[in-house]
Amino acid sequence: MVHRIRAVETVHHLVTRKPPIEGIHMELRNSELARRTFVRGAAAFASLAALGGAAACTSDNSRGTSTAITKGPGPGGYKIDLGGYQGPELTTEQITLKFLRQSYSDAMNARFVELYAQFNKAYPNIKIAEELIPYGNLPQKIQIYTQSGDAPDIMMSRLDFTTYMARSGTALDLTGYFSDKYLSDLFKPIRDAASLDGKMFLMPWEGYVPVILYNRDIFKKAGVATPPQITDIDHGWTADQMIETMIELTHNLRKKGDTATWALESSILGNGGPGSNYTQCESIWIRSMGSRNAARGSSLHNTWQGVSDDGLSVTGYINTPEAIAGMRNYQRLFTEGLTPKSAIPAQFQGQQAAMSMNSTRQILQRDQPGGKAPFDVGMTLDPTGNMLFGCNSGDAPFVWAKTKHPNEAAALLGFLCSDANQPTYFRTRGAFITRRSLADNMEEYHTPDGQLSMKIADNCDGAPRTVGWSEYYSAMNPAVKNIALGADPEKTLNETAKAIDDQLKKFKS
């Protein structure tokens, strides 16, 4: 019964859908554009019908039709600098673009408002309506929205969800909307993480470059040598060296009567504490034990890859001997009392921890107003196993595949990431900038730490490529937490691998 209601809704939705009608209006001016819009409309028809279960026959080749974007005036030919956007000139109709994102700091929120005002001045007919929600609730909100068939034009996701967003038909293929020059300016690993089969589905506007930050003052106080000062990524420390340093540090601090300072701060990602963000943090301990240069299908290569080629099986990938060894290292952080077992907010900033497994964000921002740390911060690499591994999954917006205003939504993203705007975004938020030409022009990246960041960014990887990343991630987080709290790594990883495989079965068809 519900089945039928959905089908009826779908048809209703189609009848009232705007694009084809818009297309007819525009036919007078630009028949090429009208055809494109109509093709898009038809494509949407087919995929919507497929969702409703009414006509599953045309769904496959309908996806991806959207890449056939008519090029517009290109960079510089619009009423305002739209960055790398090269699609058609924007509509003259009165429209509202809806944008769902997390709430940032007030300075950052104000920056968005400022940029919208500029955009709005050039295109007074395009109104931008934001919806701000807590970061942790974004996935649920996106799910409820897309499920109900009516979602904002632009939504915020994260690069680890690229495969899902692309395969589920949630995100619009952005490739054709942006010039090749613009796309090739993106750091390649970051662009890859935002892409599936060479098509870019998410707009990688900030990079995540994982590093270890340390507080020189605490090392000095403990009388322990600071982590290696390095300029290239081949000479980082190993997990053993890192753990030895932390043991020495803790020992010396306790001997001096300091019972409050930890060697490593409690993770501040996600919900905080162990197992709060496998993507960006804990996966380092496993995937660095693999090697992307090892022979395909070898245990080493599988450990790095994290999931089978079809993305539907993890047994033999997350529970290899290398992965288990990696989790044993990770477990030592807790059994040796080097880092707290629970979430404690911002210990590193509060000078209650000597090190933080974090991103370059803080170090690159430290000379900025308001971002200056009250202590001397150093930066080194995450522990190197068989390779240096870092996951570059930053937050990234995407355009809803069924938006009525694909051109305008893509153009807005282009505008926010224009040469003039992206650096200010970077400066306010302190995120790693995703385009090389911009980094080259910013003094922050000419420091040794900045240079090293760029080298790391060139060597980062995306999350394991699977459409079931939500399932994978949701199962790995508690598994990692259990290991931190004392569960046997081998047994836990074996069981978790089985549980994830079970979950991924549903994607097989």
Partner: protein
């Protein structure tokens, strides 16, 4: 006169349940979350045979039993104290009402800070008394009870007030008569107070059971069901299936099962107590 209520309940309560019943027997496209085919009882079978579900079911029972064990005696004790107007009871009364007024989100944020095994206030206080630090939310053994304590703290206001009103309805001369017969405080309590609070007890039992089965916000905010699934319950299981594992069918099946489960528990309670509605 009942039309608005009945219509409202039909639209906002029964219709979603109906949808859930249908969904619970369907298979969903994991990409679009749209139902694709009738699955019969597959979702239920998959759910019942899953270890996660079994743990959640067992935990839900534990939540109910432990909550009742804490809340009923505690709220009765508090109500008796407040009723007696002993010195300082105004303070207790205000404090209990304050817990009623704090939102669950706020309570979870504050308690998570207090429970922190490494730097939490509770371990700090235990340390002052020379007691070893506890892991609270970070150990499978203590996490469920820690969540219950927090949620009992949050919920204690309602049962206390219900008992209090029950106490205030007991005629004073009963006690005076008993005192003349030489019954002490304890005997007065067991022979007069407890039997006469039967009505209130049923309501307290009912409301506390409902609240204990539906603990959700503290789990999401403090433990995410861990460690080792030790704090996951049926609501959380359903939420996880829906929003993390893209399994709308199983999530609906869990919701329907929970409805039946609560119905059975309440029915048993009423049967055992021999209470009649009317």
């Amino acid at each position: 006169m009942i039309a608005p209520a009945v219509v409202g309940i039909m639209v906002f309560q029964y219709y979603p349940v109906l949808v859930a019943v249908v969904h619970s027997m369907q298979r969903f496209d994991p990409f679009t979350h749209a139902p694709i085919e009738f699955a019969g009882l597959d979702n239920y079978i998959r759910m019942f045979t899953g270890a996660d579900f079994q743990t959640s079911l067992w935990n839900t029972l534990l939540y109910v039993v432990i909550s009742l064990l804490i809340e009923i005696p505690l709220s009765l004790g508090l109500a008796v104290l407040i009723d007696r107007k002993l010195p300082g009871t105004r303070f207790v009364r205000i404090a209990v009402i304050a817990t009623l007024a704090a939102s669950e989100t706020v309570a979870a944020i504050v308690w998570a800070q207090m429970y922190s095994p490494d730097q939490g206030l509770l371990n700090g206080i235990l340390g002052v008394f020379g007691l070893p630090p506890q892991s609270f939310l970070s150990s499978s053994g203590q996490s469920l009870i820690s969540v219950v304590v927090m949620s009992s703290w949050k919920n204690i206001g309602i049962p206390t007030l219900i008992f209090l009103t029950g106490l205030q309805a007991i005629p004073r001369d009963y006690y005076e008569a008993a005192a003349i017969d030489g019954a002490g405080n304890f005997r007065q309590f067991t022979k007069i107070t407890v039997p006469l609070l039967r009505g209130s007890s049923v309501v307290v039992l009912f409301m506390s059971t409902l609240a204990a089965t539906r603990i959700f916000v503290p789990i999401v905010l403090m433990t995410q069901g861990g460690p080792n699934g030790a704090t996951s319950n049926l609501v959380y299981y359903s939420y996880e299936q829906a929003f993390q594992y893209n399994s709308a069918g199983t999530a609906s099946a869990a919701a329907i099962f929970m409805l039946a489960f609560l119905g059975v528990i309440i029915a048993i309670q009423f049967k055992v107590l021999g209470a009649k509605d009317e």
